[in-house]
């Protein structure tokens, strides 16, 4: 290795930072179109929850449903949740809630103090990782002891009594890396005026534990969550509940083993308990299916996932193939007075087989071909089995400065069990619970890396046939979306990030056309012992042409190498994007004017971090 004394230290450190960033270890250019939040960026943003990051992620952004849960694709109507098509992975293994869809609904606002970086990929990424098809896949990767050994303590207090305590401990001994993170959040949120003396509440208390131990060939991972929530409107038709509370308990365990050079075996177990308490002076939603004005129910569901994959380089071909299985089981769903609630099926099995070839045409060009066949089996004569076929073709060019990617996707989606069961056909959520959605997509991305800046543009053309996420219309929606990203690095400590997004939908819901605009502009700066962050997220769409601005600002004082004090303000202008919450007048059965609710609270907080 040649000595390179001539290069300036600043330049060498910049390269050292870029090349040793943990994201360089996990980013897979072949997975598709990536939006990356590095550790440095998450720290500068003072992103404490996944919500802080999702609100800046185009295509989906951050929304909450009528239960006050993260649900970016929510229609704000009366479905239990919708974000089954957004998949969440932690350290490469999916977190899922089985009967309650993907992990996003419970983990979409999770504490991310354990995380090093977050990757968002559009559509189904590499078939090696996905079990079920997705519009977007979120990969969260934990901190590593090489860069975060020892203990960190983080305490935070903010508006309305919001407070968080977080402890992180990591190390590496005898070839075993380990980390344990425990956090407790008491979330005190803005109340929503519903025209009564009892405004809607969405406060929650959460205890979260995440830990792993790993060697170079094995990983064991555990994730626990207890979340007691005020469930906003819950099952109240007119959003005037007398009681609306849901408590969740979640366990996730996984184990991964790499063996014989090319093989990987993986098991995961997810369990979710829910305790639902709902009461209203009018009949609740689903009152025809379940009960009248009260519902006090408990449920438990378990998900077992396993996969065996084989990956090998043969000349210019990198072949990956494998089988995957997932069993979703509803262990029980019972109501206090009537006992078990009858459902049309309580088990769903998904079996998949995939093949993928990444072929190097030349040293910087790659072709990618992937096919996956899945069979979904359900244990009821009234719930059909489904066959799904996913196809993915890709081309990647990676030069020293220019990058280009193009993909052709053919994805199929089935509606998840809970939404199928709670099918409010009167609200036209979908035509037939067993219809399969087919989505065709052609996507392209062009990027350029300059000495101090990088620019990126993505262009997606997609078409849904028999779309499952409908509010009226026939579900045959065509859409074009573009994302432009530009970042400029003044030096190692100072940078600017710009993002612009435009989407044009044809035949969506009951609209002939919908246009959606958004973007953000952020500045991260350092002066001496102080770090500053300022960012504005902007939204507008053609439904009301109203502009929404979410301004976040923070200043951190690095009092000592081990001690940092931060003052942060979120949604300072109180003009963040709002979501409609639809209501039905119980007396007439007609729709009332929706409540407009921002999922982003206006908040000022102070934070103390200590490393020891």
């Amino acid at each position: 290795m040649q000595m390179l004394h001539g290069e300036a230290m600043d330049t060498l450190l910049k390269e050292y930072k870029d090349k040793n960033d943990l994201s360089q270890r996990t980013i897979d250019e072949n997975k598709g179109h990536l939006i990356l939040f590095t550790r440095d960026r998450l720290e500068r943003m003072h992103a404490k929850t996944l919500k802080d990051v999702l609100k800046m992620t185009p295509f989906i952004y951050y929304h909450e449903n009528r239960y006050g849960l993260p649900d970016p694709l929510t229609s704000s109507l009366f479905e239990p949740y919708r974000s089954n098509f957004i998949r969440l992975f932690i350290d490469g293994v999916e977190i899922t809630q089985g009967w309650l869809g993907s992990g996003v609904v419970l983990y979409g606002d999770m504490d991310i103090n354990f995380a090093d970086h977050i990757e968002f990929y559009y559509m189904t990424p590499s078939l090696e990782t996905s079990v079920e098809p997705a519009y977007m896949t979120i990969f969260i990767y934990s901190k590593e002891p090489e860069q975060d050994s020892g203990t960190s303590l983080d305490v935070l207090a903010g508006s309305r009594g919001y407070n968080v305590q977080d402890v992180n401990y990591g190390g590496k001994e005898n070839g075993v890396s380990y980390m344990l993170n425990v956090s407790r959040t008491q979330e005190k949120r803005e109340r929503i005026d519903n025209g009564t003396e009892h405004p809607l509440k969405r406060d929650f208390e959460r205890l979260q534990l995440m830990g792993y131990a790993k060697t170079d060939t094995q990983t064991f991972h555990i994730q626990l969550m207890q979340k007691n929530t005020d469930a906003l409107a819950g099952l109240s038709m007119d959003a005037t509940p007398e009681v609306s509370e849901i408590d969740y308990q979640n366990i996730h365990l996984d184990y991964r083993y790499k063996f014989a050079s090319y093989w990987q075996l993986q098991f995961a177990y997810d369990m979710l308990n829910t305790d639902i308490r709902m009461s209203d002076d009018n009949p609740l939603l689903y009152s025809g299916v379940l009960l009248g004005n009260d519902f006090y129910g408990k449920s438990k569901n378990s998900t077992y996932s396993g996969e065996l994959t084989y990956t090998r380089q043969w000349g210019n071909h990198r072949i990956a193939t494998g089988i995957k299985g997932r069993i979703k089981k509803l262990d029980y769903f019972k109501e206090k007075r009537v006992g078990n609630v009858p459902l049309i099926f309580d088990r769903e099995d998904i079996w998949s087989v995939f093949f993928q070839d990444q072929y190097h045409i030349s040293k910087n060009k790659l072709l990618n071909v992937g096919v996956e066949y899945s069979r979904i089996c359900r244990n009821s004569p009234r719930a059909n089995d489904d066959d799904l076929l996913q196809i993915r073709l890709g081309y990647i060019y990676s030069g020293e400065k220019w990058r280009y990617k193009a993909y052709l996707y053919r994805s199929m989606f089935a509606l998840d069990p809970f939404s199928t069961t709670l099918n409010l056909s009167t609200f036209n959520l979908h035509k037939d619970p067993h219809t399969l959605q087919k989505t065709w997509g052609v996507t392209q991305e062009l990027g350029f890396d300059g000495e101090h800046y990088s620019a990126n543009v993505m262009l997606f053309l997609l078409q849904d046939k028999d779309g499952l996420l409908q509010n009226g219309g026939d579900g045959n929606t065509r859409y074009l979306t573009t994302v432009f990203q530009y970042n400029y690095r003044f030096d190692l400590e100072n940078r600017m990030d710009l993002q612009l997004y435009y989407a044009n939908y044809k035949d969506i819901f009951t609209l002939d056309r919908l246009e959606d605009y958004s973007g953000y502009l952020t500045f991260s700066n350092t002066y001496g012992q102080f770090d500053f962050y300022n960012g504005v997220v902007w939204h507008q769409n053609s439904i009301d042409d109203k502009n929404y601005f979410d301004w976040t600002s923070s200043v951190s004082w690095n009092i000592h190498e081990n001690l940092t004090l931060t003052l942060k303000g979120e949604n300072l202008l109180d003009k963040a994007k709002k979501t409609d919450l639809y209501r039905i007048d119980p007396a007439t059965g007609t729709l009332m004017p929706p409540l407009k609710i921002s999922p982003i609270d206006r908040r000022v907080s102070i934070e103390l971090e200590y490393l020891f």
Binding site: Y16, K19, D28, R39, E144, E146, H360
Partner: protein
């Protein structure tokens, strides 16, 4: 070419974190040129297997068998400091330069002249001027932003 390396690299990785060899060596070679100047071959005492793997790729680095043979001691955990203290008791005039990979190790022992470590996703390079002075080392101007009189 760098992207090709990424493509192939992903097919062979294990589950543990591994440092980038080229950029890490560049930084340490620059540090050697300041801390142990005029040495064609730098004798490094390092215990950590990851750093040994990286330094083994360099032509100008040789591994010292013990601290007495070392020009440069890389302190990656407290056990190295204990070894150094023990060595120093019998060899008080040892001239090896101690350099740490964690801030806590820089804090823990006044013989450590500096550290390259990670803090919140950013690499931090820090030298303590009085400790450098004890070794008669003067930093070039380009390092002025990385030197402090005390912790």
């Amino acid at each position: 070419m760098k992207r090709l390396i990424l493509f192939l690299f992903l097919s062979a990785y294990g589950l543990l974190y591994a440092m980038d060899i080229k950029s890490t060596l560049k930084v340490y070679n620059k540090l050697f040129s300041i801390l142990v100047p005029n040495k064609q071959t730098v004798h490094v005492y390092v215990d950590d297997p990851d750093y040994r793997e990286i330094f083994s790729k360099a032509d100008n680095i040789a591994f010292a068998r013990d601290i007495g043979e070392a020009d440069f001691v890389l302190v990656t955990d407290p056990s190295i400091l204990r070894q150094f203290q023990s060595w120093k008791q019998t060899h008080p005039h040892t001239s090896a330069i101690l350099f740490a990979t964690k801030y806590s190790l820089l804090e823990a022992n006044k013989d450590v002249v500096g550290a390259l470590y990670w803090r919140k996703g950013r690499p931090q390079l820090l030298f303590l001027l009085p400790r450098l002075k004890a070794h008669h080392i003067r930093l070039p101007d380009e390092f002025s932003n990385y030197a402090v009189p005390s912790l």
